[in-house]
């Protein structure tokens, strides 16, 4: 029974991160597209995500996310981020509403839907993202606040250093994780490295930290 509950929890946890934006920063240009893979390690389990994005116009994107767990492809998730940008001097921000649908592509997969509302803002030296999402009976809030301490205009390269706080409340338990994120970019390639420690947990049976690595490119 405990094993079943644990397996269910792991499956749910792989869906929980599905709300996270595929490359929030780019591509914001019309006709831009990107692909990335992310590997997550938590609770002695490794999940690999294949993710893609296509920008029809700056206000409308289409994303897909395909998780791969234990030699098995899981349910694909299609999202449509709808964005409203504001550009003002050395500041840009956007509000985003993202409806998502999970298609039952896995064995015994199920349909599901989710909704995310997010706000992100950037200056040449700072970045922040707030993302509130609902997925089935789960409600979560992600907060990213960071700095942009290194960049080189001529090589289009640099680094973001971000602090992440992820909060989740659900019928399967609640938790709060927090930790640093480093995002490197060089021309059209970006890599993301993150670690989050579990700082609060109630009835979720989670243990240990979260480690993630991702690499992607935009065109």
């Amino acid at each position: 029974m405990r094993a079943v509950a644990r397996a269910l929890l792991l499956l749910l946890s792989s869906q929980v991160v599905a709300h996270q934006p595929v490359m929030d920063m780019a591509p914001r240009w019309e006709g831009g597209y990107g692909i990335q893979t992310r590997v997550e390690r938590f609770d002695s389990r490794t999940t690999t995500w294949l993710e893609g994005v296509y920008t029809l116009r700056p206000s409308t994107r289409v994303t897909f996310k395909l998780p791969y767990v234990d030699d098995e492809l899981r349910n694909v998730i299609i999202g449509v981020p709808l964005k409203k940008y504001t550009n003002r001097g050395a500041f840009t921000s956007n509000w985003s509403v993202t409806p998502s649908v999970q298609f039952p592509t896995a064995d015994e997969g199920e349909w599901d839907v989710g909704l995310s509302i997010s706000y992100s803002a950037s200056t040449p030296s700072s970045y922040k993202l707030y993302d509130l999402y609902v997925w089935n009976d789960r409600v979560g809030l992600d907060i990213n606040v960071g700095i942009h301490p290194v960049h080189n205009n001529s090589t289009n390269s640099g680094l973001f250093a971000i602090w992440d706080v992820s909060m989740l409340a659900s019928s399967d338990g609640d938790r709060v994780q927090t930790g640093p994120v480093l995002m490197f970019y060089w021309q059209n390639v970006m890599a993301r490295l993150e670690y989050k420690a579990l700082v609060y947990e109630r009835d979720s049976n989670w243990s240990g930290g979260y480690f993630g690595f991702g690499i992607g490119a935009v065109f």
Partner: protein, 111 residues
């Protein structure tokens, strides 16, 4: 004979001389991250009047002051409307255009 050779050499040299680009600077609101703004380079560099031999495909982005420098071919004229449309399709807001003099001074550009 020597004069004819000299004239011929001069004509050859002039015809082979590289075309000098003319720089224009565009103030673009919202450009704060070069990774995010590479769509501007992609879109603007495809415009026919851009000299792609300069900068990165003819375009330079400076996120500190929200400036985009565009190298325009000597044998072409800047088309402000298509330049602004390209920047907007890249996700940003073009505000005004400046012409760069040989001494590097900026003067407001009126097409």
């Amino acid at each position: 004979m020597i004069l004819r050779k000299s004239l011929f050499a001069l004509v050859v040299a002039l015809s082979a001389a590289p075309v000098v680009a003319q720089d224009y600077v565009v103030t673009v609101h919202g450009i704060v991250c070069s990774f995010c703004a590479q769509g501007v380079v992609k879109k603007v560099s495809k415009l026919p009047f851009v000299d792609r031999s300069a900068y990165t495909n003819g375009v330079k982005v400076e996120i500190e002051n929200q400036k985009v420098t565009v190298a325009v071919r000597e044998d072409s004229a800047l088309d402000t409307l298509s330049l602004f449309a390209a920047i907007e399709s890249g996700g940003y807001s073009p505000i005004e255009v400046w012409k760069v003099s040989e001494t590097g001074e900026l003067t407001a550009y009126q097409p």
